[in-house]
Amino acid sequence: MRYIAILFSLTLIAMGCTKPLELPNTAPDNSILVVEGDIKTGTASENIFKLSRLKPLFQFDEVPEFNAQVEIIAENGTKWLMEDMRNGVYKKVVGLPTNIPLALRIQTRDGKTYESPFQNSVESPAIDSVTFRQEEDGVRLFVHASNTSSNSKNYRWTYTETWENRSRYEAFHDFVNGDIVTRPVGDQIYRCWKTEGEKNIIVNNTQDLDKAVISYQPIGFIPNRNEKFYTRYSILVQQIGLTKEAYDYWEILKKNTELTGSLFDPQPSRMPTNIKCTNDPTKEAVGFVSVGKVSEKRIFILNSELNLWPSRNEEAGCSAFEFPRFQAERFLTLNKGFLPAYLVTAGGGFGVAPSGCVDCRLNGGITVEPAYW
């Protein structure tokens, strides 16, 4: 009376697709003021605040907030007025006290006053080192800090990367008004320096760690063959201690933009802010102003310190054409995208190459060597 049932089934599947979703075309409330920047205490720190208005989802251009009066105020009444840079940026290099609670006050041109609460400066331990590790897919950068005395447990890191970008040909000539002329000394276009800020929010805490030690905190990743390491690279890492509320703010901001998606991600939460409009409670603001002492560290990485990192883009298409001087000048007159690249020693002709292979500024960056370089 035994029987065995054999079930066999075959399923053909072709599943899954992702398609753009039409987002609601609601006009956002552009009365919301966006404030970015922290009050940096200690010896002569650059305090920068950027003010703008919330913009619609698909708008490309920013809406900077002009003509505002931005000042840092101390509880004892001392004030430091920020300079208006005329582009929504307000900044000043000042040495702020670390032992007096400080706040930010903003007066916008429409007469509204926004204030952050008075906060004590949060201590931050010094950064011990910034290290890098070359892995299969690129280079990872880490920050390390041992924190034995400080009571801060939450940190945020920001960084500025600078790297030298050289053009393929070091040109000593220029093409001006149909003539190939000698390029003046000091007008070089061979070495450029590019600078970039961080793209992601990097926060962490030592809450769950055994020792209050920051070890191998990832701060950046540079994928293989990236131009940043063609010659020389430098990164300046800044570390600021945060209160729990400020830490939460950055965490939420990060989660809301960087992770929101699948059903297993947390729902977007309301963003906390510590900026209030004091003379109109209906006006909202976005942002969180922390008060803290910044510690920073700069390191340099040479191309030679990395394994098999290229020193230039071999696929850039930088072949040059050699002509006698007269023909070269004619060619350059007709082809605007070229520049004289080098002098042909035998015969006095010139090599001409695409401008991008001669003028490093065309790949971004400026030709002024930074002071620390």
């Binding site: 009376m1 035994r2 029987y3 065995i4 054999i6 079930l7 066999f8 089934s9 075959l10 399923t11 053909l12 599947i13 072709a14 899954g16 697709c17 992702t18 753009p20 987002l23 609601p24 609601t26 956002p28 919301i32 703008s52 919330l54 913009k55 619609p56 989802l57 698909f58 708008q59 920013e62 961080e198 793209k199 992601n200 769950d208 760690l209 055994d210 020792k211 030690v213 070890s215 191998y216 939460d248 703010y249 965490e251 939420i252 901001l253 990060k254 809301n256 933009t257 929101t260 998606g261 699948s262 059903l263 297993f264 991600d265 729902q267 977007p268 939460s269 309301r270 963003m271 942002g287």
Partner: protein, 902 residues
């Protein structure tokens, strides 16, 4: 199958023998049969031309007079059967020493042996129950109803007295108890998918009798939820959905895997936040407000693979019941719904085994009796997967380079000592593992065991006692960097004991009472470094311990044929105790680090907090006409355990939290009103149920809440209150070539922050739509049977998209563009619509055939609509883009071939 042949021949024989012609003798025999409560057996060729001179007086005298001089003689046995035969007289009792043992010491002629109830298998036979001579005009008959093929108990089977409205239903053990007037009675027994039977009884006194029912072959492959006929109209219960495994198996399933929880979602009032997600919502309640019982074992995570599959193998399941509103007082612990899944008992007639090979899983089941007595049966069912390949087809990059595995195993043993004592032992294990992108491995497991003992004190009174242990654990192993290698764990364990008594004082009145005790032992989280270089802190959160004791008493009473009521009270007492260190916060201030005023150390066993309260369960049924009824119910529920989750769908890493001095128990109440009617005479049913619910102390979370490894979770939660209301309209056509159901659900569910000291609110403190607020849902399940071998099924569902919080504006901060979101759940994702079809073609039904095969062809999502599984937003350069991800975005054809070897 061998059993069927003698049965069939017996039926033919009985037909040949009994009175079918309209000759005077036959009609007079009918008169006598009615008059004396006997059944005649005779050969009509022998009685041709006979007539009965008189039908008054004693039966023996009448027959003697009639048969005198015809060469015929009669014999009347103890079962009131009268045999008329030529020549020799029939004599049914066996000779006294036939068994040559002393088994029949007392009185071999007892009509029914009291200890061992007979199985009433035959139609045209009168079964005598009980001893003559007792007092009273009625008697209590009890027994079991089982499936003839495999001895499986049949629950929710109705037993009604023919020609009256007296009726009862069997319980989960297939047990019934009915009070019948003494004398000759006919009872009608009907059950889902079973051939209805009528049995003749001669009730002389209290006694036992068992019945066996045959599967209704014709409706074998038609997907119908035929609850017992008229039960929706006449039954006391409202807001209950029953699904038999037959119905579940007929709902077209994705990838050809029959799925219990998926099929549940075709029923009105049951929704999910997304296709293929774990967890479900009943009548606008939270996913943690549903209790899932598998043979009384609490299953904390009933899904595999993020929720794509149910963790209970359908091959071992007999059926499920979902209580949405009138929850019986014997059940409690969650405020929204209770799902009661029961497994089959092992086949008590023969050992059978089956093996299934599917595209994603392989499974086996074996069941049968143990030993010769066949009093002990076993059932074992297991499943395992090899679904790694399938992940490669998932569109989400998260699933690439990932591995998954799952398995589950169910073991169920039952032993029958006698008609009074049954014991059952169930065990269940499920395991899940998945690794995302080769660095983190998640795993979770359910482990459950339960022992149950059913004891019948007498025909009217029985007890079920059970003890068991339920456990759920998950762990995450992070191996990304030696510096932060860790093991993270969570676990909940509960021991429980339960004693349920049921006392049927009469058909009109039934009393239920009992006690339940649960001991919770919860490990809220632990984190351990697993590498010497790891700087991860060794962190083990304090254990949470609590107990929940409940007492209940309920009474179901039929005032008259029209009006019945059921009233119950359940009183639960909850206590959480030490050892534990807790903080004391400043009164009326947000609970945070700054407002800590003191800390308190509770000793081992010291009470930290107690909560207790009554739960009321009342329902009333009024029959307006015999085919239309009006029902009302009022329910209150309490829940002491909370799921801590911040995501839209249930995630495998969600944890549970017991109520303590800060987190109050969830309390819910529901009022519902329903109209049930049976239009026409084809068994169609139409019902409308409306309800209004509210609940308190459902948890939401502060912005940036830390849910995992948080020693002071009270600082991150916000108490909310919820309200929900809705209407469910259902038209069901259970019979005929075309059958199925159509339902419409209107459902609204809202939450509102109700925590004055939370320090922050959601949606400015006003009501906001809950994630599971889906106003309109239309669902159609239809089957059409062309003939005995070919049938098609169609399932179609439409629902409003779930609410979602959308981005409204952007701003620059932290080096990138950031998003400013709308108020919570202010928008909705696109509506959901899906239609699945399947066609079943069976081989011939010849009984002698060795191989039985059937083909199932189907298409899942035949319209290919790309229903959003989730929506998400990414910052693409300087723009915020919204995307929707659909998992089953194209029609998915599937073919399944089933082969049974006998």
């Amino acid at each position: 199958m061998k059993k069927l042949l003698p049965l069939l021949s017996l039926l033919f024989l009985a037909q040949g023998l009994s009175a079918q012609n309209k000759v005077p003798f036959d009609s007079l025999i009918h008169v006598l049969e009615k008059q004396f409560a006997v059944v005649f057996y005779y050969d009509k060729t022998q009685t041709d031309g006979l007539s009965i001179p008189s039908t008054t007086g004693k039966l023996d005298d009448i027959l003697k007079t009639t048969l005198e001089g015809t060469g015929l003689s009669f014999y009347r046995d103890y079962y009131n059967r009268v045999f008329i035969s030529k020549g020799t007289t029939l004599f049914t009792p066996l000779p006294k020493n036939f068994f040559a043992t002393n088994e029949f010491k007392k009185d071999t002629l007892l009509p029914i042996i009291q200890e061992e109830a007979v199985v009433a298998k035959v139609d045209n036979k009168v079964y005598i129950i009980g001893n003559k001579g007792g007092t009273g005009v009625s008697a209590v008959i009890s027994g079991y109803i089982r499936e003839a093929k495999n001895g499986e108990p049949l629950s929710a089977t109705s037993i009604t007295l023919e020609g009256s409205q007296t009726g009862v239903s069997t319980d989960a053990f297939g047990f019934f108890s009915i009070t019948l007037p003494k004398g000759r009675q006919a009872i009608r027994i009907s059950s889902i998918g079973m051939k209805e039977i009528v049995r003749q009884l001669n009730v002389q006194g209290n006694g036992g009798i068992n019945f066996e029912m045959q599967e209704e072959v014709r409706s074998l492959k038609t997907a119908v939820i035929i609850a017992q006929k008229q039960s929706n109209v006449r039954g006391m219960q409202m807001g209950v959905e029953r699904l038999s495994i037959r119905a579940i198996k007929n709902i077209p399933a994705v990838l050809g895997e029959t799925d219990i929880l998926r099929s549940l979602q075709t029923l009105p009032g049951v929704t999910t936040v997304g296709e293929g997600t774990a967890g479900y919502n009943v009548r606008g309640g939270g996913a943690d407000q549903n209790l899932i019982l598998l043979n009384d074992m609490t299953i904390y995570n009933p899904t595999h693979l993020f929720g794509f599959f149910s963790a209970v193998d359908p091959e071992v399941v007999r059926g499920l019941e979902l209580y949405k509103s009138a929850i019986p007082e014997r059940l409690g612990g969650r405020i929204s719904s209770i799902m009661d899944i029961s497994t089959k008992d092992g086949n008590s007639k023969k050992v059978t085994a089956s093996v299934g090979i599917g595209p994603l899983t392989s499974k086996f089941t074996a069941e049968g009796p143990i030993g010769k007595s066949k009093k002990t049966t076993f059932l074992v069912g297991g499943r395992t997967t090899y679904s790694n390949w399938f992940l490669q087809y998932l569109p989400d990059a998260t699933f690439k380079d990932s591995k998954v595995g799952f398995s589950d195993l169910m073991v169920h043993l039952s032993h029958e000592f006698n008609d009074k004592d049954h014991i059952y032992l169930s065990g269940y294990i499920s395991n899940d593992m998945f690794r995302l992108n080769a660095d983190s491995t998640y795993s979770y497991a359910n482990k459950n065991v339960r022992f149950k003992w059913k004891h019948n004190f007498n025909n009217k009174f029985y007890n079920v006692f059970s003890v068991g242990m339920d456990q759920y654990d998950y762990s995450v192993k992070g191996r990304n960097n030696p510096q932060d290698a860790f093991d993270l764990g969570f676990g909940i364990k509960q021991w429980s004991a339960k004693s349920d008594f049921k006392y049927a004082t009469s058909n009109k009145n039934e009393v239920n009472f009992g006690v339940q005790y649960i001991l919770y032992d919860l490990n809220p989280g632990s984190q351990r470094p697993t590498d010497g270089a790891s700087v991860i802190k060794d962190k083990i959160l304090q254990k949470e311990k609590a107990s929940e004791t409940s007492l209940y008493l309920g009474d179901q009473y039929r005032i008259n044929n029209k009006l019945s009521f059921q009233a119950g009270i359940r009183y639960s007492y909850y206590r959480t105790g030490g050892p534990r260190k807790s903080y004391i916060y400043a009164e009326g201030k947000p609970r945070n680090e700054e407002n800590v005023v003191d800390s308190m150390m509770y000793g081992s066993g010291e009470t930290i907090q107690t909560y207790h309260g009554p739960e009321f369960r009342v329902s009333v049924r009024y029959l307006i006409t015999p085919r239309t009824s009006l029902k009302f119910s009022y329910n209150t529920m309490r829940q002491y355990i909370h799921m801590i989750t911040n995501t839209t769908a249930i995630a495998p890493t969600d944890i549970w939290k017991l109520s303590d001095q800060f987190i109050k128990p969830q309390v819910g109440q529901q009022i519902s009103l329903g109209l049930y009617t049976q239009p026409g005479d084809k068994g169609d049913e139409f019902s409308i149920e409306a309800y209004l619910k509210d609940n308190m102390n459902y948890l939401d979370y502060k912005s940036g809440a830390q849910l995992i490894l948080n020693e002071t979770l009270e600082r991150d939660v916000i108490r909310t209150k919820g309200k929900a209301y809705g209407v469910e309209v259902l038209y069901k056509k259970p019979l005929g070539k075309l059958n199925g159901w159509l339902s419409y659900t209107y459902l609204r569910s809202f939450l509102k922050v109700d925590d004055p000291i939370a320090g922050e609110t959601i949606n400015k403190g006003d009501f906001y739509p809950a994630n599971f607020d889906k106003p309109h849902i239309v669902s159609l399940v239809a089957n059409y049977k062309f003939n005995q071998r070919v049938s098609i099924s169609l399932t179609s569902t439409y629902s409003t998209g779930r609410p979602v919080t959308y981005p409204l504006g952007v701003f620059d901060m932290g080096g990138a563009q950031r998003v400013y979101y709308s108020e919570r759940n202010a928008f909705r994702i696109p509506d959901f619509f899906r239609t699945d079809v399947s066609m079943i073609i069976e081989n011939n039904h010849r009984l002698t055939q060795l191989l039985h095969g059937s083909w199932t062809f189907g298409i899942y999502n035949i319209t290919g609509r790309d229903n959003p599984y989730s929506v998400y937003f990414v910052t693409d350069g300087r723009q915020i883009k919204g995307y929707q991800l659909s998992v089953f975005a194209t029609p998915i054809p599937f073919v399944t071939f089933n082969l049974k070897i006998r």
